[in-house]
């Protein structure tokens, strides 16, 4: 492995030191994760370098189960003595908490796993010179600045390579390597008493996939800069989006966030049981709904898939050592399954975990995270076909802001851009388009989904969850889709 900092036998020896100490101190289960992360983030703003950073972290975390309670300790020091000391610290904490637990943690059975998994890429972005990468960003930035109304720009690319080694007291010993790339451009126009922003290929840093530098080359950032710039400026004087109930097509990058917030989070089974209530909230998808609750219209199929090609959450095994899986969360509009790890699969009564336990690097213990979760493509053809079919309505795209209540029911999203659709074509821009709804009603109103040619695995690189807050990455594949009678708030 290129990311190898130590020899394989040394990793195993370090892990064994932690596992043996945990076992000797009374742990019924223990695991050791060693993680090496390498990142590069470059950014250009208004002709100047806004970000230039290359970073590495290398650390170890030991997780133990003692008396039915979890303990975890981590440090950026990958040595046998450190692993042993961390195990002792984790055991001490777990033992202190154990008597207060209402019920002991119990895990589903899992066969020990062994092996190595790696994501695929063509061009290693860390092997491309920063000079070449900056040249691309400066070229796009220069085009974005060719209008006096543009007061801020940001052109960025970022890369993350994570190498991880997982050893458990049950005999699992696996390693995996994941490489992801991302890039995007943004222009902000100021004038007419307004501020408007446009982005490409998506907002908040652009589009991210589990690929190499070939992803960035494929975006043609300079080739899209003029359009982005002119749309930002045009939005300053565009009419405000009207309020009322309208038929609306949501573009893919916007719909991806809708999937994330209204299907992904409410189906994390730890959240369903109230474990996230102090921060992120709970869920309306209570356990009795499984197998019968109508989540959406019959054309809505939402599939979790940790094996998805190019997905940011594509893995060989999760941090419980459970192999990657694919399953329906919603099938033909009916709720089928939750997102689980070994602890919460047991609470749900399932025989096996869905393999959704993932941690942010080495610092924190794994928790249930949204895997790649996608809306399956439909039969409505291209976006052009769908606009033609709709006739009158609106097309909204690109995330600007989002908010959803603590049970994941009432949501309100604003997109960067909207178009009034008249006689099946884009008639004119509208600014500040904001739509609002209640989750099951929203998905029930979905009556057309574009086909596979429009389907893209949109990446979310910054999903926050937990206390302390952990970040995770995942993709939401989708194609533009139509929603009947959606409530627009007025711009």
């Amino acid at each position: 492995m290129d990311g190898q900092k130590l020899s394989p036998t040394l990793y195993e020896a370090i892990a064994r030191a932690g596992l043996e100490r945990a076992s000797a101190m009374g742990a019924s289960y223990a695991d050791v994760r060693i993680v090496h992360e390498k990142t590069r983030i470059l950014g250009v703003r208004l002709g100047r370098i806004g970000r230039i950073e290359q970073a590495e972290t290398f650390g170890i975390g030991v997780r133990v189960l003692v008396g039915g309670a979890w303990g975890y300790a981590a440090r950026p020091e990958v040595e046998e003595a450190c692993a042993s000391e961390l195990a002792a610290r984790a055991v001490e904490a777990a033992r202190a908490g154990s008597p207060l637990r209402a019920r002991p943690v119990d895990l589903t059975e899992e066969e020990p796993a062994r092996g190595h998994w790696s994501s695929r890429w063509e061009e290693d972005p860390f092997e491309i010179s920063m000079e070449e990468q900056f040249a691309l960003l400066f070229e796009a930035d220069e085009i974005l600045r060719k209008n006096a109304a543009i007061r801020s720009t940001f052109c960025t690319m970022s890369f993350l390579r994570e190498d991880q080694w997982l050893y458990t007291s049950e005999g699992t010993a696996v390693s995996q390597t994941a490489l992801r790339s991302g890039a995007g451009i943004t222009a902000t126009a100021v004038g007419e008493g307004a501020v408007q922003t446009r982005s490409y290929p998506a907002s908040f840093g652009g589009q991210y996939e589990q690929r190499g530098y070939e992803l960035v080359r494929g975006f043609d950032l300079p080739g899209n800069a003029e359009r982005v710039r002119e749309e930002a400026v045009a939005l300053l004087t565009a009419p405000p989006c009207p309020g009322g109930e309208f038929d609306v097509i949501l573009g893919g990058s916007q719909l991806a966030l809708q999937i994330h917030e209204s299907v992904g989070h409410p189906n994390e089974f730890d959240r369903v049981l109230g474990f996230e209530a102090d921060l992120a909230g709970r869920s309306f998808v209570t356990p009795e709904k499984r197998g019968s609750f109508r989540y959406g219209s019959p054309i809505v199929d939402l599939v979790a898939d940790s094996t998805l090609d190019r997905g940011l959450a594509t893995i060989g095994w999760d941090d419980d050592g459970v192999p990657a899986r694919r399953w329906h969360v919603v099938e033909k509009g009916i709720h089928r399954n939750y997102l689980t790890n070994r602890e919460f699969a047991k609470r749900l009564g399932d025989e096996r975990s869905r393999g959704a336990n993932r941690a942010w690097g080495w610092r924190y213990p794994p928790q249930i995270r949204i895997p790649n979760l996608s809306l399956m493509p439909g039969d409505a053809g291209t976006l052009e076909d769908l606009c033609e079919d709709m006739g009158e309505g609106f097309l909204l795209d690109t995330v600007k802001t989002w908010s959803i209540d603590q049970m994941r029911l009432n949501f309100q999203f604003t997109t960067e851009i909207g178009w009034k659709i008249e006689r099946g074509k884009k008639a004119h821009l509208v600014r500040n388009p904001t739509y609002q709804g209640i989750t099951p009603g929203f998905w029930a109103s979905c009556d057309a989904i574009c086909g596979p040619s429009e389907w893209i695995p949109w990446g979310v690189p910054n999903c926050g969850k937990g206390q302390p807050m952990q970040l995770a990455e995942m993709s939401h594949g989708c194609a533009p889709a139509r929603f009947r009678g959606l409530t627009l708030m007025g711009g």
Binding site: H36, G47, R48, G50, I52, E53, Q54, A55, E56, T57, G59, A69, W70, G71, Y72, A74, R75, P76, E77, L86, A90, E92, A93, G97, S98, L100, A102, S129, M130, E131, F134, F138, R151, T188, V190, A194, V195, L273, G274, F275, A277, D278, L279, F284, Y364, P365, K400, T401, W402, S403, D405, Q406, L409, N410, Q412, T414, N432, T434, I438, Q467
Partner: protein
């Protein structure tokens, strides 16, 4: 946590490796542990130690930055090499030279008390919450929460002779209680530089339980405009969004801030004064920034009149002024921002705020607030964990949660009264601010939900 001597040694190691004195080191070292609570018991107990060393090289107007995997000589040498190579690629700019003087006092808190936070035993946390959790369980309530303590050392140094070092630590406990049918309550406490005493932890539990029990059986309420009494936790969310959208020099210079072009004019209610003050005893924060500059006390808005944003050196140069010492790691796209924000309470007794309210809402907390439009600072979010109807000066019962969509420039211009209960709170998306309760008019709730 690194002692001053140890931090000095690590910085010296980097400077010895560097072929130039134009090198800057930012060194953070943290240690702490946390207790998560669910189902009235511990659900996770975590301990974390971390060291982060960032190196920036500034040569002839070119700059490069890298972070080391560790502080051993091989790792710092590798990071330095990366930063030097990156600096060659950077186009030359007129960058301010690296700091060569160490400035005034470094601020922060006493090493001994911060160490106590870093080493706070997990068993002590359990002991402090035990009675609360057992009481809640016996009442049939569901308790979740988060209790963590952390100590950190922060060091800024340059090869030109600047060396600044301080300790900062924090203890915080928040708890959310669910009381069926339909009730939820939250309470919290946070202290900088000292642990939470037993009675304060217990008080958090009592307040959260009472709020949850009081909010059972909420009734539906029509969205619309209401007078709102915002408790500090709710007000803190709005204050933080106002600050993020308006109090930094980058947005101010770009014309994206509500302060842009309005310095010296009345922009908010005359009842409000916003300032940033690391020396306030509720913060006792760092007195230097990520450029090694003194962090000054800055009045942002005084009695509603715009005074100015916070600056770092690059934006100050662009704006023809001097830095206020609010730089983040350089280079920075977002620019400087507030770090110890205070909404000064010069108001009346909080217990009297409700008296003149004919019909309004008391809001305990907001959830998932987010920015829609930066100039009017229009935001949306939900109420959460205890929303109550006020009629004729008193609370008449809990109501279901509502979504608001509201310009904060409007809201902070329509303040009817400010309470006297200013305290440190942590908004939903992080950070901490000092704010009192606020009574505001014409707050727009735009939709409702099912609980």
């Amino acid at each position: 946590m690194l002692s001053k001597e140890r931090a000095h040694g690590i910085c010296a190691q980097v400077f010895e490796q560097s072929p130039t004195e134009d090198v800057e080191v930012l060194l953070f070292s943290t240690r702490g542990n946390s207790l998560r609570i669910a189902e009235c018991g511990p659900s996770e107990q975590n301990a974390l130690e971390e060291i982060s060393l960032q190196i920036r090289v500034v040569r002839e107007g070119r700059q490069g930055r890298a972070r080391a995997a560790s502080v051993d000589p091989a790792s710092t040498g590798e990071a330095l090499d990366t930063a030097l190579k990156a600096a060659v690629l950077s186009p030359p700019l007129e960058l301010p030279p690296l700091a060569s003087k160490s400035g005034g006092g470094d601020g922060g808190q006493e090493e001994e008390s911060v160490t106590a936070l870093a080493e706070h035993p997990p068993a002590e946390k359990i002991a402090q919450v035990r009675e609360y959790l057992e009481a809640a369980r016996s009442e049939g309530l569901a308790v979740t929460g988060f209790y963590d303590t952390e100590g950190a050392s922060v060091t800024y140094a340059t090869g030109r002779g600047c060396f600044r070092h301080a300790f900062v630590g924090k203890a915080r406990f928040s708890s959310t209680v669910i009381a069926e049918p339909g009730g939820a309550g939250v309470a919290g406490a946070v202290r900088q530089g000292e642990p939470l005493p037993d009675d304060e932890v217990a008080e958090v539990g009592r307040r959260a339980m009472k709020k949850a029990l009081d909010s059972r059986d909420p009734r539906e309420l029509e969205p619309g405009e209401y007078v709102v009494l915002l408790e500090p936790k709710a007000a803190g969310d709005l204050v933080m969004f106002l600050a993020m959208a308006g109090f930094g020099a980058r947005g101010f210079l770009d014309g994206r801030s509500f302060l842009s072009g309005r310095i010296g004019t009345q922009v908010l209610s005359e009842k409000l004064t916003f300032l940033d003050d690391a020396g306030d005893p509720r913060f006792r924060g760092l007195r230097f920034d990520c450029e090694g500059q003194d962090r000054k006390r800055v009045v942002l808005v005084e009695k509603g009149i715009a005074k100015g944003p916070v600056w770092d050196r690059p934006t100050a140069e662009e704006g023809g002024t001097s830095t206020t010492g609010h730089a983040g790691p350089q280079p920075s796209v977002s620019g400087p921002n507030v770090s110890n924000l205070i909404l000064r309470a010069e108001g009346e007794a909080t217990k009297d705020l409700m008296e003149g309210v004919e019909r309004g809402l008391l809001v305990t907390q907001f959830h998932y607030t987010n920015l829609i439009d930066p100039l009017p600072v229009t935001v949306t979010g939900m109420t959460r964990n205890g929303t109550f109807l006020i009629e004729n000066g008193r609370i008449t019962g809990p109501v279901r949660n509502l979504r608001f969509t509201q310009s904060l420039v409007e809201t902070f211009s329509r303040v009817r009264a400010v309470g006297d209960d200013g305290r440190l709170v942590e908004p939903f998306f992080g950070g901490s601010v000092v704010t009192p309760s606020l009574l505001c008019e014409g707050f727009r709730f735009t939709s409702s939900t099912e609980f």
